[in-house]
Subunit: 364 residues, 2 copies
């Protein structure tokens, strides 16, 4: 089976076919055509940016959650309370991508009148790449900011074990001639996937990534992830920012926080109760849109034109690499890494329509 | 003169006397009693937190700006346009502390109805410690976030020279039995004052703080600040967050941005045109206040109770050190470092009431 998947390594699959495949898989697990399509759109867009750790690779664990009761295929998100500039959304353990699109859309709708709006989401799960929802706002001439908490795996200064999640923050800002400025980062010093990759390759990691079971810096991954924890970026600064994310996404939303969050990748997942926060700023409320966009272009141009460091021939704006990868992926098709392909075949094999589904993944 | 200042080293001055001194000095430079009192309150509060780099030490350069036309003693901030969840404020180069309090108050007033609100400030200058304005919100049961851009001194990945300011972010969140969680950080890897302190002491700096004039990492401060630049925290992550601050405080507010900002510490300062952003979230719009505060207390307790790393006997919440220093300062008086005292005497000596003013600084 994984042999069959590996025949696809190096091949190109169009974003359209990959989206169709993912949507049909999810329908086979009981999702509505609409929810399946929305979720597939988030996952495939993430792959086009080259962020394969958070793209269609996640279809397998997401559907595992649907099978085991961590998520509910037929649930719908709903607004619990709202006001001129805010909405509190109950995700009801629907697909977190559907809930997150719904919540960011609610923030954008309110921001159009209020200038700025915040959506607070409870009863959700792993929502994929935070950046997707920020970019939704930028595509409608708004500034988007999105965040989530997550199950604990990160320590804090003075502690020896996991206290918080890697609590990502993403933002996107529209420009004029330029593409949106776009950042999506974990507040940990490094993505967990990079630690696991070093462990798999049997390589040491740089000092500053992990602490061991005594809470001391280590360059060994021998006992990770059973013992030890990843560190926040930039010491107390990253710790403080991660805690702000925890407050805005967990404490203020009514979701779980810190150790209260269930692990969505557990063998027998329960509803995770992650919380999310989405912020939209309607640029036109504050400044004529053309003026803002010209100012963004000028800012981008100034950063890009700065004198280069020795050995550097280009300064990238946040998101620039992702947009270039996306252009190539939409033009030439997606080349998916082996671990993604293996997941895609594995999830198709859990349905009764394996061959029919895999046929949708046709090579370009 | 500085001899006289140094007689005060080790002495304690009450926060009340220090505030009175600062206010009277500013009145001698032409500020109204109200603006002088507001500005003194910001500077002295900052000293009580132990953040002396941004406290009353700044009275001297602020008054230099008033004398030279970088700030206007008789100007008032005004709201240019507003809506349910936002206000655009023109600082008119009034005292930036007065403008910033005004703008955060406007955001708080709007957030009471809208749930969340954003104040965008243009035509301002150096506003001191970002944290002061965030704490204003927390004292009124709101979450406060404040940011500013600043004159360029920080490079970005791939560049060899200064591209951005150290663009600080601060936040404060009210709790129940616990003190507000409170963070105030520059997005640079280290405060410029620490680089200068190492240079003054003739000590090398750790790798990762500065690049030299070729844009390469250096541990030498020999040619700084004439050449080279400080690095963002956490590499591309800090760069990306600093750029978000630049957009929210500079591009979106109508203030200057990047190299357009004038240096407020220049010998002949012009209006700096820094921009600020203030965000207030009215907790009670989203959740009963008691419930939120209990949840904050529970979160704080969980972080603080985590198993300690070897060699660590305590985990600090963001702001906890500052609140403890403030308690001690209000109880025992402030012990100001020599460089602060020298500045206080120097600014008093630029007035015609030197002795009368210095008499206000009486030791406890």
């Amino acid at each position: 089976m994984s042999n069959k998947a590996l025949e696809y390594v190096g091949s190109r699959i169009s974003a359209e076919n990959l989206t169709g495949f993912c949507a049909r898989v999810m329908q086979a697990f009981g999702l509505s055509a609409d929810h399946a399509r929305q979720t597939a759109e988030v996952l495939v867009t993430t792959d086009t940016w080259g962020t394969h750790s958070h793209g269609t690779r996640q279809l397998l664990p997401l559907m595992h959650n649907v099978r085991k009761g961590g998520l509910f295929a037929d649930a719908e998100p709903q607004v619990l309370t709202d006001g001129p500039g805010f909405a509190v959304v109950d995700g009801n353990y629907a697909m977190p991508m559907v809930t997150s699109r719904f919540a960011m859309q609610a923030a954008m709708d309110k921001a159009r009148t209020a200038g700025i709006a915040y959506s607070a989401v409870r009863h959700s799960g792993h929502f994929g790449a935070a950046g997707y929802y920020a970019v939704m706002a930028a595509e409608h001439d708004m500034i988007g900011i999105s965040m989530t908490n997550a199950d604990i795996c990160m320590t804090v200064p003075g502690a020896r074990s996991s206290v918080m999640g890697t609590n990502p923050i993403a933002y996107a800002v529209p420009a004029g001639k330029e593409r949106p400025v776009f950042l999506d980062i974990a507040t940990s010093v490094v993505a967990i996937s990079k630690v696991i990759a070093a462990k798999t390759a049997g390589k040491p990691i740089p000092e500053g990534w992990l602490v061991d079971e005594r809470g001391l810096p280590t360059t060994s991954t021998d006992t990770y992830p059973d013992k030890g924890a990843v560190l926040p970026m930039a010491g107390h600064k990253g710790y403080g920012l991660a805690l702000l994310v925890e407050i805005l996404t967990g404490v203020l939303t009514g979701a779980s926080f810190l150790s209260g969050i269930k692990r969505w990748l557990a063998p027998e997942p329960e509803p995770a109760d992650e919380g999310h926060a989405f912020l939209a700023v309607n640029v036109e409320s504050l400044m004529p849109l053309d003026q803002f966009k010209s100012r963004m272009d000028a800012m981008i141009d100034e950063v890009r034109s700065a004198p280069k460091a020795e050995g550097s021939d280009r300064i990238y704006l946040p998101g620039e690499m992702e947009w270039e990868r996306r252009d190539a992926a939409l033009r030439d098709g997606l080349q998916l890494p082996d671990y993604v392909l293996i997941n895609l075949f594995a999830v198709a094999e859990q349905t009764e329509k394996t061959d029919e589904l895999i046929a949708l993944l046709k090579k370009e």
